[in-house]
């Protein structure tokens, strides 16, 4: 079976080639799709290879000496996770927690954001951090280009080509995760938190569902980290997988929420 491989050299060419997204497989860094191709788990008919599309960038207005002036940060969809590790927590810390140096050098923001969850375990490490940051995702697909909040984007992410992600730099942020030995190739559970300039606290979790989830009840109790930890359990329905059980996730989540909230208080 022959594969039609399209290699755009700009974002606009990528958008045109993607079209409505039907019957097209996107490869950015390759860390997700190439495994599947190597093991012949599926045979794509058309592939959009983004390696040369020029969509790897971080636009971060800088005042001086690395001090962000509060303007919106915009990250291109094919920016490798290694480049994100320099950003403030939670996104920087979350990116640094993914895999190892070499995989972080290849894996991309867009791939992490858009990959469909495999049935056997969670994926999309960055989703929780981007929920905490109240990020906007610009994407294209069947109904054309649009920007939407990440929570609206995630449920239909498999049908969209992410173009970039933008967010306001947080006043404070924190990230806490179940420690992941290398042999575990995904993060079983991680919590991200961010405080905006007006003091609003947002919390996101990765590993508690098919994609990142906002912890609304925990946010409402954010002034009391102990209570917020307990409240977080009402925001999610945990599942078992090969590494940890749903029961263990329920024991772990309140601890991670408390750790994130305490770290943000200490850092603010």
């Amino acid at each position: 079976m022959s594969v039609d491989v399209v290699i755009p050299e700009s974002e606009s060419e990528a958008v045109e080639a993607y079209g409505d997204g039907s019957d097209i497989t996107v490869i950015a860094g390759g860390t997700i799709v190439m495994q599947l191709l190597n093991y012949q788990r599926f045979e794509p008919s058309k592939v959009l290879l983004l390696a040369h599309a020029g969509m790897s960038y971080i636009n971060m207005p800088v005042k001086e000496q690395g001090q962000n002036d509060g303007s919106t940060v915009t990250v291109g969809a094919t920016t490798p996770l290694a480049d994100l590790t320099v950003l403030a927590s939670p996104l920087g810390a979350c990116a640094a927690n993914v895999a190892d140096d070499e995989i972080r050098g290849q894996a991309t923001l867009g791939g992490n954001l858009c990959s469909p969850a495999p049935p056997e375990h969670p994926s999309g490490d960055l989703q929780g951090a981007l929920i905490a940051l109240d990020a906007m995702v610009r994407s294209t697909g069947a109904d054309g280009e649009k920007s939407e909040q990440i929570e609206d984007f995630l449920p239909h992410r498999s049908d969209r080509l992410a173009l970039d992600v933008s967010f306001e730099p947080p006043a404070s942020g924190a990230f806490a995760a179940f420690r992941r030995p290398h042999a575990h190739h995904y993060t079983p559970l991680a919590v991200s938190g961010a405080t905006s300039a007006d003091g609003t606290v947002r919390l996101g979790v990765t590993g508690a569902g098919d994609f990142g989830i906002r912890l609304n009840a925990a946010e409402a109790a954010a002034d009391d980290p102990e209570a917020a930890g307990e409240a977080s359990l009402t925001d999610v329905t945990m599942a078992d997988d090969a590494i940890i059980s749903g029961w263990y996730r329920e024991q772990l989540l309140p601890t991670l929420v408390k750790r994130v909230l305490n770290e943000m208080k200490d850092g603010s």
């Binding site: 491989v5 390759g30 190439m34 390696a51 895999a99 070499e102 995989i103 290849q106």
Partner: protein, 170 residues
């Protein structure tokens, strides 16, 4: 497509989605990168792409068209090994040797990036590399020593390929 492999310009005729690993091994006969897991999890296929360590099993060759690829064959030769290769020999850091090419490439990238002899930092740098002989202690020792760019007094044990006889007898 074109690649510069260990300083030599090569034409590539494989399909665009062929993993770089397979292009190196099967088309270009550069066999030091090993096909361990073909899923990015073991590190044995690690090569330098434009000076940065990458998992060649996860890279469609069209994504690196025009790039410079360096494998351990490009870091040194049996008669003139690099500092990292000398250190691996001196510290007996290879057991079965399957993970060694990836380890040497990762160690070289770590040292080229200014890495220190701190064992915890070295362990992080090679955290994506699995040694199933579990010879990590000697690997860490070898990389730590190599950060000092020491010249080791080693006996080159690589055989001269023109004199090796496999399965025969004199």
């Amino acid at each position: 497509m074109k690649l510069e492999v260990n300083g030599v310009n090569r034409e590539v005729r494989s399909e665009p989605l062929t993993p770089l690993l397979d292009v190196l091994r099967e088309e270009l006969d550069v066999t030091s990168p090993k096909a361990g897991c073909h899923a990015g999890g073991c590190g044995a296929c690690t090569v330098m792409v434009d000076g940065k360590p990458r998992r060649s099993c996860l890279i469609p060759v069209a994504a690196v068209d025009g790039a410079s690829i360096t494998t351990v064959e490009g870091l040194g030769t049996p008669k003139d090994p690099s500092a990292v290769q000398q250190s691996f020999i001196h510290h007996y850091a290879a057991q079965c040797g399957f993970c060694t090419p990836g380890m040497v490439v990762a160690a070289t990238a770590y040292i080229d990036g200014g890495g220190s002899d701190d064992k915890d930092e070295i362990a992080k740098a090679i955290s994506g590399h699995v040694c199933r002989c579990t010879g990590y202690t000697k690997i860490l020792d070898a990389i730590a020593a190599a950060t000092k760019q020491t010249e080791f007094d080693i006996t080159i044990i690589a055989p001269d390929p023109t004199t090796v006889t496999i399965g025969g007898s004199e």
